[in-house]
């Protein structure tokens, strides 16, 4: 595996993404919504409209649930990027000349994955910073201290978010092999969000806790899913499969 080649592929994809509006929308919209909407909700609905939700005993659970949307966003954002990256090449039929170069299947796959992971991480970490600052601004008067950063959000951002992004990218690769347009790839890719939305609902009903231990357990489960998807993904992303069996 030559990392310089992986980076060459990713760098080319970044150049392409700069010119594709839909990819920009994928990268920008969800992070902006998360970073602005949740502090705003706290400000106007919880803290001012419903004082009960602002109680120091209730608020941490609410903030942990809100934080989890950063993970859902992190799984959502790469769907648009990875789908475009692979389906876009299928539509332009530019995979065949690429596959005829001395690149290995792994280098191409990893290059594609890196080109989806890096913008997502940058966008979601930026969103997380705005989210934390916004929430701290709003909740300082309640807690008497800045709630973020804490171990919870550190675990979420540094452990759970990367494994969720990798899961989403690998799922996109598999979906992209079966469809012929970016919109279909996005539509099918959304299925990967359902387990994460399930986790959110379970946390809302207090069946699971989104504390550090809970987040680590979820990360472990997603890591196992990543490994399974990696094997399926690498089997799907083989030259002969791409040229003879991909739709």
């Amino acid at each position: 595996m030559r990392l310089s080649k992986v980076w060459t592929i990713a760098a080319r994809d970044f150049k392409i993404f700069r010119r594709v509006k839909n990819v920009w929308y994928s990268i920008i919209i969800f992070p902006v919504v998360i970073s602005v909407m949740f502090p705003a909700i706290l400000e106007y609905l919880a803290l001012r409209g419903s004082p009960g939700l602002a109680a120091p005993s209730v608020l941490p659970n609410l903030l942990n649930s809100f934080s989890f949307f950063l993970v859902i966003g992190a799984a959502y954002v790469p769907l648009g990027i990875a789908s475009y990256s692979i389906v876009g090449e299928k539509v332009e039929k530019s995979l065949e000349p690429l596959l005829a170069t001395p690149l290995t299947d792994g280098e191409i796959l990893l290059g594609k994955a890196v080109s989806a992971v890096i913008p997502t991480l940058v966008a979601m970490y930026a969103a997380a910073v705005f989210f934390m600052v916004g929430v701290d601004e709003v909740t300082f008067s309640t807690f008497g201290y800045y709630y973020f950063p804490n171990w919870n959000i550190a675990t979420l951002l540094l452990v759970l978010m990367p494994v969720a992004i990798v899961m989403s990218v690998l799922f996109s690769v598999i979906v992209s092999s079966r469809v012929n347009d970016v919109r279909s790839a996005n539509s099918f890719g959304i299925f990967i969000l359902f387990p994460l939305l399930g986790v959110y609902l379970l946390s809302e009903t207090s069946i699971i806790a989104l504390d550090v231990n809970g987040l680590l357990i979820i990360s472990g489960i997603l890591l196992a899913v990543d490994v399974a998807l990696f094997f399926v993904g690498t089997k799907t992303f083989r030259r002969e499969e791409i040229l003879t069996k991909w739709k």
Partner: protein, 308 residues
């Protein structure tokens, strides 16, 4: 002479269906080799096997001395080849320059080499002024030229071209053909998939005709001569009457046909066998205006062999 491409009983099956069956051929260094066949004859599959894009089912093939069946050789093969696929496959959201530059990086060309080669090929193909224009906005002919430049960017030992002039207007096709002829002068080895017989005849040193299995191989002239017999076209002063045609049908003529005031047939020895034909026409009341003996064309050979 070094055989740059060599195959022996190369076979590719998809399930029970053979796409390429027992293909045995060789291509020499510096040769332009035409691979002729109808759609679905196995031309693209063969090129994909040569480029290690799909695996063979059985048989052997070597490219530049490397075995296409060995995993460790596949990357070495892909380093020494260039591919112009049937769909040009350019990255449409990149400029012409960036398309070439990316492939230069993939093939480990240095910064200086890339700059030099990008400029050389873009100038050679008349695209230098359009170097900063997105490839997606190019015409079909410009895209095809850019795809050829991309395949040549690392100076490959052998260039595989899959239908490079298909779907191009006559002017663009001529530009591409002229460029291939220029590469031929530079002694570049080219494996050219085509079903354009005129193109094969004008460009190729040797051609092979394939329809799943190999039907014939040789120079275009050898293949033309390989069909036994020569075609005679007799022009009549009036449309061939039923009496004339009935008289001709009694003679041992092959492929007899008539269209308007011409009668066409094939005989082994026109010098000896055409006199009785003329005599038969005159006796049946016909009047001969002209007699032309023509050799078989590559098209005749091609049609005869692919219909076998």
């Amino acid at each position: 002479m070094i055989h740059l491409i060599e195959t022996e009983n190369l076979t590719k099956k998809f399930g029970d269906l053979a796409a390429v069956d027992n293909l045995t051929l060789h291509v020499d260094d510096g040769e332009v080799f035409g691979f002729l066949g109808p759609n679905g004859a196995g031309k693209t599959t063969t090129v994909r096997m040569f480029c290690c894009l799909i695996s063979k089912t059985s048989g052997n093939a070597n490219i530049g001395g490397y075995d296409i069946g060995k995993k460790e050789d596949s990357i070495k093969i892909r380093k020494i080849i260039g591919l112009v696929p049937d769909n040009v496959g350019l990255t449409e959201h990149l400029t012409a320059y960036d398309n070439l530059d990316f492939y230069g990086k993939i093939y480990d060309c240095s910064d200086a080499q890339r700059k030099e080669n990008n400029k050389r090929f873009l100038e050679m193909l008349g695209l230098w002024d359009k170097r900063n224009v997105l490839a997606g906005t190019f015409s079909k002919g410009m895209k095809q030229k850019l795809a050829i430049a991309r395949a040549l960017i690392h100076d490959p030992q052998v260039l595989f071209m899959d239908e490079p002039t298909a779907n191009l207007d006559p002017e663009a096709a001529k530009t591409v053909r002229d460029f291939i002829l220029q590469l031929k002068k530079e002694k570049k080895t080219i494996f050219l998939n085509t079903h354009n017989l005129d193109e094969a005849q004008r460009i190729c040193d040797r051609v092979a005709i394939i329809n799943t299995s190999l039907r014939a191989i040789g120079t275009p002239q050898e293949l033309e001569r390989s069909i036994s017999g020569k075609k005679t076209v007799i022009g009549l002063e009036q449309q061939a009457s039923d009496i004339v045609l009935r008289a001709l049908k009694k003679l041992p003529l092959k492929n007899l046909s008539s269209e308007g005031d011409t009668v066409t047939f094939v005989v082994e020895d026109p010098d000896k066998e055409n006199s009785p034909v003329v005599e038969a026409i005159v006796l049946a009341g016909g009047r001969v205006r002209s007699i032309n003996v023509v050799g078989s064309t590559l098209e005749d050979t091609y049609l005869k062999l692919v219909r076998k």
